[in-house]
Amino acid sequence: MLPEQQQKLQQLALRVREHIVRLSTDGGCFTGASLSCADLLVYLYADCLNVRPDNLTDPSRDYLFLSKGHDVPALYGTFVELGFMDKARLDQHLSTDDHIYWHPNRNVPGVEFHSGSLGHLPSVALGVAMDCKMRGQDNKVIVITGDGELNEGTVWESLLVASAHKINNLTLVVDRNHFQANVATEDLIPLEPMAPKFEAFGCEVRRIDGHDFAQLEEAFSALPFSDTKPSVIICDTVRGRGLPSIEARADRWFCNFSSEEVQELLRELHSQEATTLTSETLTVR
């Protein structure tokens, strides 16, 4: 990846993170989980997938399904920056005048399907991938899950079926930020070694640094990894990435900061100097 392209994506991701921070007040949102996949979503929409504001109903577009729906601030931030969505809609966060709430829904153009209940979209994406294949189309079908989401049996059930039916146009991407809602994944339901689990379910797996645009490009441009198997990309990420004061903290999943803290955090985004936060955050949602 050219340095200027990398810089462009970094600038884009920084603006997406600003949107996430601004949404983390007045009711709050899932800040930590959104920051971990901001780089991934920016890369996919800005540089990888054939999906744009002007082809959202074209059946030959690439599909992205966000199964870990609580990271929707990262998706909407990306949509605003890339012209899918009017920035003013973010001001309607949690207002009943619009549909901008804690999980994605199809009232926002570009959202392929609603999510929020974990473990659903791998199977929905499987159905879409099956149809693309049936029609001889080679569009990419991507589904992003969380790592805690891998607790859900239906993720594995879907991969068993995808692998049995040789659905190689389906790619499951794991936002491996090492935390589930309240605790580190390895302290609750250990997921490692992760790649061999997916391999055992018949997938071709790569594991990369999910914050490194060059690695993202290298992995995604190699899709499909196999002629017969579904692909899996495990993106190692950091919960709260970009804000040292909340990075990798179990209690920064859902955040509802004061407006002063939001200003502090916006400064922190640019300076990388940690600020001190006193807000109580809600860890159970």
């Binding site: 609603h114 659903h120 199977s123 929905v124 499987l126 159905g127 879409v128 239906t154 879907s158 079926v161």
Partner: protein, 317 residues
């Protein structure tokens, strides 16, 4: 024409149709060869079956899904509610061996809360044909509708010539001034017998085959209430959430009341066995139904002739 042939004709004429199953092929064994990639067996995965069907529907397909009614509506309930329901997608659910039709399987396989669950989902429609002929008359309209649908599959042979089907309309078999029996699904043939027996006792007995539980034919129910007869709801379903509940909702919505006898399953699963034995044990043969109604009216049921239910197992899973 049978169920499989109807699907075959429909799918060959309409490229949007895909047939899916969670490895329940009893009624659709010949379709893989006919439909090729449009026949999708996901294995024993009811949840993935529903999710994948939602994905196919997003691409413009109309999936017709097959699984045992209990696993389809219970195990995959949240997928139906969340993916198909919130998505308002035209996914057509065919539930095998609903109600008493799971005969010898035992309580794990008894779908006797399926009507209650499915009708609670916004936009979902719910159908229960009386027999195979009734089902074949109903399915084309159900599959052509843009709404999601749940069908209690019933392939028992017909012993009644059914009227043409209209979405949301009940079939008025007979009108009566003393008693009106409301029923749906496989118990229809038993209520035909019960009606004969009660008529022989000098009663005027009406009979309605509901066919569609959602939408419900409210006008037909209100007409029965207006007539003032005893109303008997007969269903192979828990008394909670099924036809008796639906009738209660209609009555309350219209600020009416009525004398209603519910014949349904209350607070327990039914005793498994051969279908005819189940109906005998649980009191749902035509003779039992007639006797229970007579006794409710304070009359001796002794005059109702004894006799076995004429039923055989249709298929086993």
């Amino acid at each position: 024409m049978n169920y499989e042939e109807l699907i075959k004709h429909t799918a060959l004429a309409d490229e949007r149709i895909v047939v899916m199953t969670a490895e329940n092929r009893a009624l659709i064994r010949n379709l893989p060869a006919v439909l090729g990639p449009r026949f999708i067996d996901t294995g024993i995965t009811e949840q993935t079956l529903i999710g994948a069907a939602a994905g196919l529907a997003l691409r413009g397909r109309v999936p017709i899904l097959h699984a045992l009614a209990t696993f389809l509506t219970l195990r995959a309930f949240e997928f139906i509610r969340t993916d198909v329901g919130i998505g308002q997608l035209p996914v057509k659910l065919s539930g095998f061996v609903p109600g008493f039709l799971s005969d010898g399987n035992g309580p794990t396989h008894q779908a006797i809360e399926d009507v209650s669950l499915m009708r609670g989902i916004p936009g979902m429609t719910v159908f229960a044909p009386a027999d195979e002929q009734d089902m074949l008359a109903m399915l084309p309209a159900i599959w052509a509708s843009p709404q999601p649908a749940y069908v209690r599959v019933n392939t028992r042979p017909a012993n009644y010539e059914h009227a043409p089907f209209e979405l949301g309309k009940a079939e008025i078999v007979a009108e009566g001034t003393d008693i009106t029996i409301l029923t749906y699904g496989m118990l229809f043939e038993q209520t035909l017998v019960a009606r004969e027996l009660l008529q022989a006792q000098g009663k005027s007995v009406g009979l309605i085959n509901l066919r569609s539980l959602k939408p419900i034919d409210e006008a037909a129910l209100l007409e029965v209430v207006r007539r003032g007869s005893l109303i008997v709801t007969v269903e192979d379903h828990f008394v909670t959430g099924g036809l008796y509940s639906i009738l209660a909702e209609v009555l309350l919505r219209n600020q009416l009341t009525a004398r209603v006898l519910p014949l349904a399953l209350e607070e327990r699963w039914y005793r498994p066995g051969r279908l005819s034995a189940v109906l005998e044990y649980e009191g749902f043969t035509g003779h039992h139904i007639a006797r229970r109604i007579s006794e409710y009216l304070g009359e001796s049921g002794a005059a109702i002739a004894e006799g076995p239910a004429v039923l055989e197992n249709q298929f086993a899973e």
